[in-house]
């Protein structure tokens, strides 16, 4: 079953000098897939992920998430969508420095309507355990390593049970070992929980984690590769 479907998606930047970052991209993603978007620098990978994560508005084309056309969503609805249906991990460790690891993770639960008023601290703790940070609940970002911060970001992205988890080069700032740990973690989530993941990478080595690879070049899909 397709969770995301995009149709002839275009994104053009600028007013006088136009940059065609996405020139008409069409594809579908099935639930449970681990999809990696690969391509050279400047090929439009981040731009594509921003559109899918509802962080930006495409110039034209459509994005369906669970059969809902996101074009029709109000700003408010989009916010709720980001909160409850999508998880987003940035390349930089985008955790809030004024909050502890635990607080960073339960923040989305505080405002979510589907938290069912359950004990959000407990849920957040479970999430942090899942990413292997049970000993770092009360640490602030300046007391965490890059890899640990990225795990907090992953826990935060997962805490509302999103339909899709987006990750834009989550390991770009990490060393090989930390990168491997993060990717293993993501793969585990994908395998054990059936979490749909769409990740951007330009590391050829990451291919082994993917179920499917989309190759982007100059704003267009040039190859759609199913791995095994």
């Amino acid at each position: 079953m397709s969770i995301i479907k995009i149709d002839n998606l275009k994104r053009t930047y600028g007013t006088k000098v136009l940059t065609y970052a996405l020139k008409g991209v069409t594809f579908e993603v099935s639930g449970g897939d681990f999809l990696i978007i690969m391509g050279k620098s400047g090929s439009g990978k981040s731009t594509l992920l921003h559109q899918l994560g509802l962080l930006d508005t495409p110039t034209s084309g459509e994005i369906f998430i669970k059969n809902e056309n996101t074009k029709d969503l109000s700003e408010k609805k989009k916010t709720i969508f980001r909160l409850e249906k999508l998880g987003y991990i940035f390349q930089e460790y985008a955790i809030l420095p004024e909050l502890t690891a635990l607080e960073n993770v339960y923040l989305p639960l505080m405002v979510s309507s589907n938290n069912g008023k359950k004990d959000f601290k407990k849920t957040a703790m479970e999430m942090l355990k899942l990413v292997g940070l049970e000993h770092r609940f009360d640490h602030y970002s300046n007391e965490l390593s890059g890899g640990e911060q990225q795990r907090v970001a992953i826990a935060r992205a997962l805490v509302n049970n999103p339909e899709v988890l987006f990750a834009d080069e989550p390991c770009a700032n990490l060393d090989t070992q930390a990168s491997k740990n993060i990717l293993d973690l993501l793969k585990g989530l994908n395998k054990k929980l059936g979490q749909t993941i769409i990740m951007v990478s330009h590391e050829p080595e990451d291919k082994k984690y993917a179920d499917r690879i989309l190759w982007l070049e100059d704003g267009l899909i040039v190859k759609d590769e199913r791995v095994k």
Binding site: T57, E84, F90, P108, M110
Partner: protein, 405 residues
């Protein structure tokens, strides 16, 4: 409710985890803005009030009774005083003669170094006067007059001269207690007096006067039981106008004036000061508002990326705006509270102990409650706007602009 809780939670964490130096600096700016809003204005008010109080305490008491326009003097002064003193609320009254005199002081009695000048001489009943004015409390050298003093005179420090210097040119150049001064009165009588005391009321208008007893004055004028004016002291809290009517209704035919009628100069001062105070406050408020806006704006700008991240993970704009507005309000209100404490526990007591010395008397900081409330409210509003506007502006940008832009 979830939204408000979340906003308050974020604001709380931002304040608690924020850079202590920045927090102190921000609050200090608020404190200064608040104190600045009240300080000059309070000094100007203190100045006006001092002028008024000095007029009442040293020259006019609360009510002045003068001969009606036909007469030169109040005749049968004791009748007027008995009537007036019988009115409830009247603390007492005293009668004065006032006459100009030309003072000559020849220090070495050899015509070498003669100082002279025209001053007004006021006569009093020394004991009755004590209840009405403060001259007896202002004696700085020598002594106050006694009932049966005849060839004794008490003079103001600006008349005596020599000691403080501000009106030195017109003074007697530093006459001392025990020395003799010759006074030629307007009616042709000339007498020699020993300076019994020198007073300093710090009020320029009274510090140029001289006092003798009524008995002495009556012998100069060849008159009895009369007065150029009777001044009446009343208890606080009742408007002078009440007594004006009361006195008239009790058959006092003389002209009756409240002390305010004699303070024309202060009144015009006071009017200009009100204008100046309003202007100063308006400017101070503007400066405070802009300062607060800039300080908060920089704070919000520094957190642009965080605001973008909050929005990216699905935190409602409203929560973000409330959170930053609450932070701005926290800074503003902390500034107001600390400013209040500084004013009431440091500045006001300081000026109580070290008043500003003006030629009209000692000036303290006088804060009007309504102005205080007004300043607090306007700063709170400035804080609110400073938190709200920049945050709304930043949350209206696209998410990616906030994070990367």
């Amino acid at each position: 409710m979830d939204k408000l809780n979340t906003a308050l939670f974020l604001a709380y964490k931002a304040i608690v985890r924020g850079n202590i130096g920045t927090t102190i600096l921000t609050i200090s700016v608020m404190v200064l803005a608040f104190v600045n809003l009240l300080f000059l204005s309070s000094i100007l008010l203190g100045l006006v009030n001092t002028m008024n109080r000095q007029g009442v305490d040293n020259l006019y008491a609360n009510i002045v009774i003068e001969p009606d326009s036909e007469d030169k003097m109040i005749s049968n002064a004791s009748r007027v005083m008995t009537t007036v003193n019988g009115v409830p609320g009247v603390i007492g009254s005293s009668r004065h003669y006032k006459i100009g005199g030309f003072f000559t002081f020849d220090r070495n009695k050899n015509n070498q170094e003669v100082k002279s000048g025209q001053y007004s001489v006021i006569s009093i009943d020394p004991n009755k006067e004590k209840k009405i004015t403060n001259i007896n409390k202002s004696i700085v050298y020598g002594n106050y007059l006694e009932e049966n003093d005849r060839n004794k005179i008490v003079i103001g420090k600006d008349l005596a001269g020599g000691k403080s210097g501000s009106f030195e040119k017109d003074s007697l150049g530093g006459i001392n207690v025990g020395e003799e001064v010759t006074v030629s009165f307007e009616n042709g009588v000339t007498r020699v007096y020993e300076v019994k005391g020198i007073f300093n009321s710090k009020f320029v208008q009274s510090d140029k006067a001289a006092f003798i007893t009524n008995d002495e004055m009556e012998s100069i004028l060849g008159i009895a039981n009369a007065a150029h004016e009777i001044i009446v002291k009343t208890e606080d809290g009742v408007a002078e106008s009440y007594y004006l009517e009361k006195f008239s209704s009790m058959g006092i035919k003389e002209d009756i004036y409240p002390w305010t009628d004699y303070m024309g100069m202060t009144e015009s001062f006071s009017k200009s000061f009100t204008l100046i105070r309003t202007l100063l406050s308006a400017i101070a408020l503007l400066v405070a508002g802009i300062t607060i806006y800039i300080v908060i704006y920089i704070n919000v700008l520094n957190n642009k990326k965080q605001i973008g991240i909050l929005r990216a993970i699905g935190i409602d704009k409203k929560i973000i705006i409330i959170s930053y507005t609450v932070q701005a309000l926290f800074y503003a209100i902390s500034g107001i509270v600390i400013g209040l404490v500084a004013l009431n526990l440091i500045l006001v007591p300081y000026f109580q102990v070290h008043p500003l010395e003006f030629p009209v008397g000692d000036v303290h900081l006088e804060i009007v409650q309504t102005e205080l409330v007004l300043s607090a409210v306007s700063l709170t509003i400035a804080g609110f706007i400073s938190g709200f506007l920049p945050t709304r502006q930043i949350t209206n940008k696209t998410i990616l602009d906030s994070i990367w832009g």
